[in-house]
């Protein structure tokens, strides 16, 4: 019973972290239909920024992530602008955008290698290695802190999209670009805001990633499959769906690892995705 309980808790903690990494893609891919395959590469960049500042100034990693998210926001807005001018304006976006982001992913990876080298990087924080015990359940802070941060970030984004004017403009542009223009808002600026936001979340997600484990420039490739699967599983356009899907995936992986054999965990996760696509293609909370 102990094992079962801990498997669920561990799975939820892991899923929370996955949600943090997928949140940005939920905006860029789920709502804006931009196939940003370089999103994990931006996350890794966030990890490296966190590493640098943590080593130089000793600041808390999550704090560093938050402090740098405005900078990442600006970068995201700039990248979107290039993407827009090159592809969206001319209607070529689907495939060309994909190749563009592949190229960008390689550029980011190699730049990181050239600047930081290929050695594994880790951060130091007082809560890494500390475990809270609640009865039979273990809560390693190394996983718990990212989990809590992810929940807060998801809630913040959700509130932004649902309650603020700018946020609702983002939701609107996802649903109907022409209608938005007729309402007087500039869809390009709105999408720029949204994409910038997605990259800003990557900064925080990166800081969480390097808390959990060592990072080196090609680690981003391990997450490409997962993040797209989570966004699709949760339903394109639904932030809450992304969170739920991430938690489901985290728990599924942990269960398989605990009770059957970790080797099969990826097959189970993606198997769940395939089954969902076959049965309910719009995902758990998807509308269209």
């Amino acid at each position: 019973m102990d094992l079962f309980l801990n498997a669920i808790v561990s799975g939820l903690l892991l899923g929370g972290f996955y949600a943090a990494v997928s949140l940005g893609l939920s905006i860029s891919f789920g709502q804006l239909d931009i196939v940003n395959i370089a999103h994990p590469a931006f996350v890794i960049t966030g990890s490296y920024v966190t590493y640098m500042v943590n080593r130089a100034l000793g600041l808390d990693p999550v704090l560093i992530g938050l402090v740098f998210s405005p900078l990442f926001f600006v970068v995201g807005a700039a990248v979107y602008y290039v993407y827009y001018v090159s592809f969206e304006k001319t209607g070529q976006e689907a495939l060309s955008g994909l190749v563009f982001f592949f190229g960008l992913m390689f550029i980011i990876e190699i730049s990181l290698i050239m600047v930081y080298g290929v050695d594994y990087r880790l951060v130091a924080a007082p809560y890494i290695g500390v475990t809270w015990r609640l009865g039979a359940v273990d809560l390693p802070l190394r996983m718990f802190v990212p989990f809590v941060t992810a929940l807060i970030m998801t809630l913040a984004i959700h509130l932004f999209l649902a309650r603020t004017f700018a946020g609702r403009a983002v939701l609107a542009v996802a649903q109907d670009r022409l209608a938005l223009r007729l309402m007087g808002a500039d869809p390009v600026k709105v999408k720029q805001l949204a994409f910038g936001l997605s990259i800003a979340t990557a900064a925080v997600a990166g800081s969480l990633l390097i808390i959990i484990g060592p990072v080196e420039p090609s680690v981003d490739r391990l997450y490409i499959g997962r993040v797209f699967a989570i966004v699709v599983l949760g339903g394109m356009g639904s932030i809450g769906g992304t969170l739920v899907a991430a938690l489901i995936l985290g728990v599924a992986e942990t269960f398989v690892a605990t009770f059957y054999g970790p080797s099969w965990a990826p097959a189970v996760s993606f198997g769940i995705l395939l089954v969902t696509l076959a049965v309910r293609p719009q995902g758990i909370f998807g509308r269209y």
């Binding site: 892991l14 495939l95 942990t254």
Partner: protein, 431 residues
């Protein structure tokens, strides 16, 4: 998906860009030709190889290259080999096996190298073998696990001190240490990747031969993020011994999870790659105490071979600011040694004849920076020197402490023991 084809006017500038790009590409492609012409005049001895400078194995490949460059500079300072300067010609294989055959054909057929050595890692050594064998070249090899078992090539020499039966010898020491302690059960776990799988397979054989009962035997995908479910599943079987075969990220993950969940077992460690790297040692710090792991060279007084301290000083100076392991204890001394053996053989034989070199290397014991090296019939070390070390007395996350003796005590083989085995793990990890 709908696509609309619109005709766009192409400004002349973009066309020009494409043209100049093509011209630039053509020039870049033919530049080695011009360099080779220039080199022909000096006739240096060229040693060619591929090395992982990007991709998954670059963390070890880049330091290896630095070590080899140190050897080249040392040798050239003394006048070179056979009176000729030595030159290293290498290409980045990007940790992709498909790149290896063409790199070696280019080295041999186009660049005209006189000698070849291998890249780092089994899957980057094996693809070169058919070409090397066809040309009958001597092939010094850098850390491939049992890569010659299938090819059975008589001019292959492996510098990794695994021993004549690499897959078994790797974990033999660990199981030997366990044998003296009245233990019964063992848990085996490893990454789903070449080296780790082989290490665990060897441990399985050794454990079965020693009469241990295997209570857990699983592997995990390298993309695993959280290792606590695995450690918990292992704990549920209450093993006396836990043998792990892992790569750097999973090694860190397993050690952290074991500490966070307070793993109760009597012996923990085995084949964890990465615990020898400075970045992981400083990050994990005191969490390493009590772990018994493989290693090849540690700064213990029993392993103070002639030349090693000078080499390490040079390496550490060059490694600064390169984004590689700052200490260089793991692969670099062996990368130095494998070209050192080749160089010494050439000097002794007095020529570049591959047959003569091969025969000479087979029958000679070399004195290198990593101590005496002797090869067996299959190209592996005649006698295993895979060390088992235990992390002890680590109290902080400071880097300096690892430069001195006393933190990684050699427990096996007998000839190199430098301290006492602290047993069991639950006690040993406290100090």
């Amino acid at each position: 998906m709908t696509r609309t084809f619109q005709s766009k006017s192409l400004p002349a500038t973009r066309r020009q860009v494409l043209r100049t790009a093509a011209a630039g590409g053509a020039m870049a492609a033919t530049s080695p030709f011009w360099l080779n012409l220039a080199r022909a005049a000096d006739a240096p001895i060229k040693i060619g190889f591929s090395m992982a400078l990007t991709g998954g194995l670059a963390g070890a490949g880049k330091p290896a290259l630095i070590a080899m460059q140190i050897w080249r500079d040392d040798i050239n300072a003394k006048g070179g080999l056979l009176g000729r300067q030595v030159e290293l010609v290498h290409y980045d294989d990007q940790t992709q096996p498909a790149n290896v055959p063409k790199i070696y054909t280019k080295l041999l057929n186009v660049d005209g190298v006189d000698l070849v050595v291998s890249g780092y890692g089994t899957n980057l050594i094996a693809p070169a073998m058919p070409i090397i064998m066809r040309k009958g070249m001597v092939f010094m090899s850098l850390f491939g696990l049992a890569a010659n078992d299938e090819f059975k090539y008589d001019r292959y020499f492996q510098i990794m001190p695994a021993g004549p039966e690499p897959k078994i010898d790797w974990s033999r020491g660990f199981i030997e240490l366990a044998k003296g302690k009245e233990l019964e059960t063992i848990a085996l776990v490893g990454a789903d990747a070449e080296f780790a799988k082989n290490a665990v397979a060897g441990a399985r054989t050794n454990a079965q031969n020693a009469g241990f009962k295997i209570v857990y035997d699983e592997s995990y995908p390298p993309s695993t993020t959280d290792y606590s479910p695995i450690v918990r599943a292992i704990q549920a079987t209450n093993p006396d011994i836990v043998y792990v075969g892992s790569y750097p990220p999973d090694s860190a993950g397993m050690v952290r999870a074991a500490n966070e969940l307070d793993l109760q077992t009597k012996m923990f460690g085995g084949g964890m790659v990465g615990l020898q790297y400075a970045s992981l040692m400083t990050s994990l710090g005191p969490m390493l105490n009590g772990i018994v792991n493989y290693d090849f060279w540690v700064p213990e007084p029993t392993l103070n071979f002639p030349g090693i301290q000078e080499f390490l000083a040079k390496y550490q100076a060059r490694a600064k600011g390169q984004g590689v392991d700052p200490l260089g204890y793991y692969l670099p001394p062996f990368a130095y040694a494998y070209v050192q053996v080749l160089g010494d053989a050439i000097t002794a034989v007095g020529s570049l004849d591959q047959q003569a070199l091969g025969d000479y290397i087979h029958k000679t014991t070399f004195n290198t920076v990593i101590g005496p090296v002797q090869f067996g019939a299959n190209g592996e070390w005649a006698k295993s020197r895979t060390l088992m070390v235990q992390y002890q007395n680590i109290t902080s996350n400071d880097l300096e402490q690892f430069k001195h003796a006393g933190k990684r005590i050699v427990l096996y083989p007998k000839e190199w023991v430098s301290g006492k085995f602290k047993f069991p793990y639950t006690e040993a990890k406290k100090a």
